[in-house]
Symmetry: C2
Subunit: 396 residues, 2 copies
């Protein structure tokens, strides 16, 4: 048994961590941050999960030198430049930047995390000069969360405190960025999680993988997967407290809620929809169908148009190639039956109710295939004029 | 050796075929056709290729009773109602409609082809009454081509005449519809091909499959695949002429040009782009990368924004999961080098040239992966505000 509290101010509650964000000249507006750090003042362990994109950006290849998990206490992040497709020069640039960190910080295996435009060398001089502006002893979660934003329309930071049965407490906090190129394969998002829980080193990878599989790997804004997507879990044990089940729950909760915030902030998106597929021949088939629904342009534009037309839902399931039969399929919007073999055309009463569901900011589209026991839920959003506008005009 | 001529007036050149299109009340505007037929006045063979969508619409399931190829001389088509997800009742409705054809037509194994909204019963009464309006001895290719349009902004009809070395001639003509839900798995498109070539029955399937694999199966408007996609090849041998190589060439040419017309008419699309992937580990891997490029929202919005940003091209290839390396990749826009390991950042001169290519209505994005001998070309279009508008407002 344990109790979970939601706290304000993101990272600011976690013992032994410092963080700040400043403008170092990557963004033209000096009031907007573009450089942030998170460090632990005591020994710390870092576990990473990186993009499945074959062209991993330089910071991911650099951090991978230390392995998937390693002793490390320092992370530097920048916006506006992804340091991707920059070859070996991209890695040398990271070494130059990290080599300029003040020695007194005692940075152990420091790493970088970058987001922004692909194919341009990191502006090393600006970043190295920017290091002087950072307050290494600040606990400015707001500034750090804002400095990693790109097309995000709001900052994303959360913190949960866990109280164990014996009265001991630990915190799990995180900042994240991401609003486009979000896909079940993790996509353009950065998420930095810091905890003062005493997580055993050997449990970190499994815990992080489980949490990510239930959160960031289930959301899609546009089906694209970037070169830079990264989740970092930093654990310094400062609280001395730990209980696996409680920590796993807090980690799942923070990653899931951040995933929903990213989806809510999906470029141009107005609504968040859960695509719950049940009764599939297997969980894998359920995932194929649910992810197809979350990525279908025809489904996404129907959501934007608030059209309860279930034909596009059925057609997308059929097109995904999973085992399904017209006579066994059942579709609900929230609790409203919109299709089964006995109810194919929406009568006026059900159509009116269906319109009402479609107008909500958030709802479920539930599809039971009637073929087996497989299930999976994916999360998506609508596709609006603004998505096109943002992506036609923004140079990623 | 043979000579290929392009003729006007679509179907009107093919011997022994009749066709017409009228309004039977499915479209509210009586000046817009919604019902069409094509028939041969002599024995004829039909070969079909249908959607890979698991929920095949009723007309596809009905026609499949006769097998993939069969003796048949009559096809009836309607717009506005897909007769999809209508169960066994959908098939009975087709039988009712086709049972009302005048006996004197001598329709052998008549079939239907439908496009429009999913999940509503076919308006059988309107269609049966509409049969009386059709002129069974008309050769009105224009009316037939217009009656199958949905969101199409122009009719699609083509005809090629082939002159063989011995002076004999035959024709291959076709009408098609399709402007959205176009995907390499054939997608919402109908294509009716009529030829008076004396094609041997046993060669028809192979010839049609090859032509479709090089045309309709390489284009993508939005990555969706409908319940109704169909290609029908009707051959009545009326010319008495045939030569396999010449016929194959004409069939490939007509399906490829129709595919390009469908793409050009892609909902809201302003440009047609060829994604040519070479140097892949295999042809299959080349196809995965090329199709991913043609479907990527980030690539499609960059095309709309005319942004020469190659980062999204590279990222999409990497995200597709094919074997590739940053140091081996080479990207050209038409003949302009935009990325290789020695040229990562676009200098102002090349950037200006790249902008010029992006402004064209049609160009090639060529990606050499440098991993092997595999190659594939897919064709796509940009994603504009109008795509969102059309699909948010149109009930498919």
């Amino acid at each position: 048994m344990f109790t979970l509290y939601s706290l304000k101010d993101g990272l600011a509650n976690v013992e032994g961590f410092y963080y700040d964000g400043v403008n170092c000249g990557l963004r033209p507006d000096p009031s907007q941050g573009d450089l942030a750090f998170i460090r632990s003042n005591r020994p710390c362990r870092i576990t990473t999960m990186f993009t499945t994109n074959r062209f991993q950006a330089a910071p991911l290849r650099h951090a991978s030198r230390y392995g998937k998990s390693f002793e490390g206490n320092f992370l530097l992040a920048n916006a506006k430049n992804a340091n991707a497709m920059t070859g070996e020069a991209g890695i040398r640039d990271i070494e130059t930047v990290l080599g300029a960190l003040p020695k007194e910080l005692g940075a152990q295996n420091p790493v970088m995390s970058s987001t922004g435009v692909i194919g341009y060398r990191l502006p090393v001089d600006k970043i190295v000069k920017g290091l002087d502006k950072l307050d290494w002893n600040a606990r400015n979660s707001d500034a750090a969360a804002r400095a990693i934003m790109t097309t995000d329309s709001f900052k994303k930071e959360l913190c949960f405190e866990v109280e164990l049965e014996n009265g001991e407490r630990f915190r799990v906090a995180a900042i994240a960025k991401g609003a486009g190129m979000i896909n079940p394969a993790m996509a353009t998002m950065l998420c930095f999680i810091a905890t003062d829980a005493a997580v055993p080193a050997e449990e970190m990878e499994e815990l992080l993988e489980e949490a990510v599989s239930l959160s960031f790997n289930r959301i899609s804004v546009d089906g694209d997967t970037s070169t830079n997507d990264s989740v970092f879990l930093m654990a310094n044990g400062a609280s001395g407290a730990y209980e696996r089940e409680a920590f796993a729950e807090a980690l799942k909760k923070i990653t899931f809620e951040l995933a929903m915030l990213i989806l809510k902030d999906g470029e141009g998106a107005n609504k968040v929809v859960a695509f719950e597929v049940t009764g599939a021949a297997s969980d894998e088939e359920a995932a194929v169908a649910a992810v197809a629904l979350s990525n279908s342009l025809l489904v996404k534009t129907a959501l934007f148009g608030e059209d309860p037309n279930w034909g596009r839902i059925a057609s997308t399931i059929g097109a995904s190639g999973v085992e399904c039969e017209e006579e066994k399929l059942v579709i609900h919007y929230d609790d409203l039956l919109v299709y089964d073999a006995e109810h194919r055309e929406l009568d006026p009463e059900r159509e009116e109710k269906a319109y009402a569901v479609m107008k909500k900011d958030s709802f479920k589209i539930r599809c039971d295939l009637g073929m087996g026991e497989g299930s999976f839920t994916a999360y998506g959003c609508d596709l609006s004029y603004d998505y096109v506008k943002i992506n036609a005009e923004y140079r990623t």
